[in-house]
C-alpha cells in the first residue's frame, strides 16, 4: 500500500514534469530566434569572405552600461588618412544577440574626409557589438565592445 502510494506520486510527478516540458517547448519556439554567435560569424563571413580580420584601427564608441536598449548612441571611427590611395571603403556593424546579427552597413570613400559615422541602435540584450572596416587595400580591421543592457529592445510586447 505504502509502496503503491510512492509509485503513483512518482508517476504523477513524472507526468507533471513531462507536461511542463511540453508546455515550455512551444513557448520557447514562439519567441523570435536570437542571433547566435554562429549567426554573427556567418554575417561577418558574408561581408569579409575568407579575408583575415585584424583587430585595430577601428574605434567603436558605445556606452558600456545602457539603461534603455531602444536607443543606444554609437559612433564608429577608423584611423585613416582618407586619401584616394588609402581610405575606408565601408564600415559594418554587427551584434551577437539581437534577432538579426546585422546593425548597419555604411559606405564611405575618399570624399568622406573623415572615417567616422554615428547613429542610434537597438540592443535586445547584454551582448557584444562588433564593427568591421574595409580599407581601400582590401584589408579588414575590427573592434568589439561588450555592452550591458538593462531594458531590452526589439522584441518587447506592445500592449
Amino acid at each position: 500500500m505504502h509502496e503503491h502510494d510512492h509509485s503513483t506520486r512518482r508517476q504523477f510527478l513524472g507526468l507533471a514534469g513531462a507536461a511542463a516540458a511540453l508546455g515550455a517547448v512551444p513557448a520557447v519556439t514562439l519567441r523570435p530566434a536570437e542571433a547566435t554567435p554562429a549567426m554573427l560569424a556567418t554575417a561577418i563571413r558574408n561581408v569579409v569572405g575568407g579575408a583575415v580580420v585584424r583587430t585595430g584601427k577601428v574605434k567603436l564608441d558605445v556606452p558600456p552600461l545602457v539603461e534603455n536598449g531602444n536607443t543606444v548612441p554609437m559612433t564608429v571611427s577608423v584611423a585613416s588618412p582618407m586619401t584616394a590611395d588609402d581610405h575606408v571603403r565601408s564600415i559594418h556593424v554587427f551584434n551577437e544577440k539581437n534577432p538579426q546579427p546585422n546593425i548597419g552597413n555604411f559606405k564611405l570613400g575618399p570624399r568622406s574626409g573623415r572615417a567616422q559615422i554615428s547613429t542610434r541602435i537597438r540592443l535586445a540584450d547584454t551582448q557584444k557589438i562588433v564593427a568591421i572596416a574595409q580599407l581601400s587595400d582590401g584589408s579588414f580591421w575590427s573592434a568589439s565592445v561588450d555592452v550591458v543592457v538593462t531594458l531590452a529592445a526589439c522584441t518587447e510586447e506592445v500592449l
Binding site: 536607443t71 546585422n102 548597419g104 555604411f106 559606405k107 570624399r111 572615417a115 510586447e157 506592445v158
Partner: protein, 106 residues
Amino acid sequence: MASALINVPKRAKAGEIIEIKTLMSHIMETGYRRTATGEVIPRDIITSFSCRYNGVEIFHADLFPAIAANPFITFFTVATESGKFDFEWIGDEGFSETASASITVE
C-alpha cells in the same frame, strides 16, 4: 507625414571636412514584436539611406531593424564646391523620402 531634419553647414572653406547630421522620423518597426494577443507586427523599416553631393553619391547606408526609431545618422564629407546635398531614405511599404540642403564653398 514623414519629416526630415538635416544639419549641414551653410558655408565652408574649400577642402574643409564638414559634418552632416540627418534625422528622419520613422517608426522602424522591427518585425519581431508581438501584440498582446500574440500576432507579429509586420516589419516596417527604412532599409537604405544615401547622400549625393552635386549628383555624386558620397555616403550610403543599409539599415536593419537594429537601428533605433527615427534613424539619426551623421557622417563627414570634404567641402569641394558650392552646391546641393540630396538625401534619400527608402524603406518598407513603399517608403520614400527626400530632402536637400545647399552649401556655399569659398
